[in-house]
Subunit: 197 residues, 2 copies
DNA sequence: GCTTTTGTTCATTCTCTCTTGAACAAATAG
DNA sequence: CTATTTGTTCAAGAGAGAATGAACAAAAGC
């Protein structure tokens, strides 16, 4: 069974000094590192790039919201990666901008320059699941619809009687699956919503 | 949002003659080809190799169970791919061996040699979901457990009071998620089982 | 027994996705 | 307005993992 191989450490060990704030920059060991590794693996099971999960893990392990450049530093990843990763996470609602935009002033003692946004992880399973559904399931539903249309046409122009009936059965099967899924999702959401927070 | 890119056709167009039985070998068009493409995409969302989904799609579109070599021929894939793909599918319970082992005699007119097993797709959503859970979710649960243990240790040896309390909160959060998942799954299974078939 | 055909394993090859890094845009400070 | 710093986009490269195919094992036919 593949899709979840070894938990590999990132190629570039972002080590330079001991650490900066709450957590070490990277190599192994440490609360943050554990979280980074874990979420990196988890999201990969859903076909999401590891680095995206790592960003989430870092935020999850951080007592305070982190800025873009904080993340770049601590993960030792490129700006491009982090930028794209944050976009994905935001589009899924898995991270949110820390409400204290004013934290900008009070919190940065080193004052290296203007920092704009601070991020923190979404903790509500309801929202997290919702984001995954929007990002992964809904595209599939669309794909299913178009499949059904194609298959209908193909079945209609099938000459053999037996084959045509068989194909119509299969089309119905796909529709049934789709229906079950669409019935399930709201229910699932409701369940998560009920217990969450 | 990545993880579901373009629906690409296989690199090698398995075209040689028009077709063999119910369905064309490959290129585009045709009931089978649509199914192959669709399931190839669907499984990829779950981090399963496209070829595995393609095999399922082919079986799904076939009126009669197919043998190993049927699949190799029609998909134009290598024997290695198909062998591994079938193993994955079987281990997830997504395909089953056609009960009519006797079909061997009655069904092969061309009589090229002994054929051993014939495969057909599992259609019950209950079983399909069950297989996915076993293959994907359960490993994650194990990973979660070990994470919790590591994090506990790390938190216990944290000096700062505030940080330690924060870390314990986060650990609890992960546990809550795990619990919710484990509560949900049986329910989900029950639901699928009820409506299925 | 030997030959023929079926299916598996595994090292190699190749593909595709992710990451990178540099050029570019946006915003603030001076 | 210019300089500095922050963040985005995108082409190019590297790396992970899937597909291939040949060698091998297992069965069946003769």
């Amino acid at each position: 069974m593949q899709g979840m191989r070894s938990a590999r450490a990132p190629r570039r060990s972002g080590v330079e000094g001991p650490d900066s704030l709450t957590c070490l920059p990277f190599p192994p060991s440490g609360f943050s590192a554990e979280c980074v590794g874990f979420f990196g693996d988890v999201v990969q099971v859903l076909g999401v790039p590891r680095s995206v999960g790592q960003i989430f893990g870092l935020l999850f392990a951080s007592l305070e919201p982190l800025s873009f450049s904080d993340i770049v530093e601590r993960l030792g990843a490129s700006k491009g990666s982090v930028s794209q990763g944050l976009q994905v996470l935001r589009s899924m609602g898995a991270v949110k901008v820390a409400p204290g935009g004013d934290r900008e002033r009070e919190h940065v003692p080193t004052r290296l320059g203007p920092r704009r946004e601070y991020f923190e992880p979404e903790l509500g399973l309801r929202r997290l699941v919702g984001g995954i559904v929007r990002g992964k399931v809904e595209p599939l539903v669309a794909r299913e619809r178009s499949l059904i249309l194609s298959l209908r046409q193909l079945a209609d122009s099938e000459k053999s009687d037996a084959v045509r009936r068989f194909q119509r059965q299969r089309i119905e099967q796909v529709q049934t699956w789709g229906l079950q899924m669409r019935l399930m999702l709201p229910l699932l959401k409701a369940l998560v919503g009920a217990r969450s927070r």
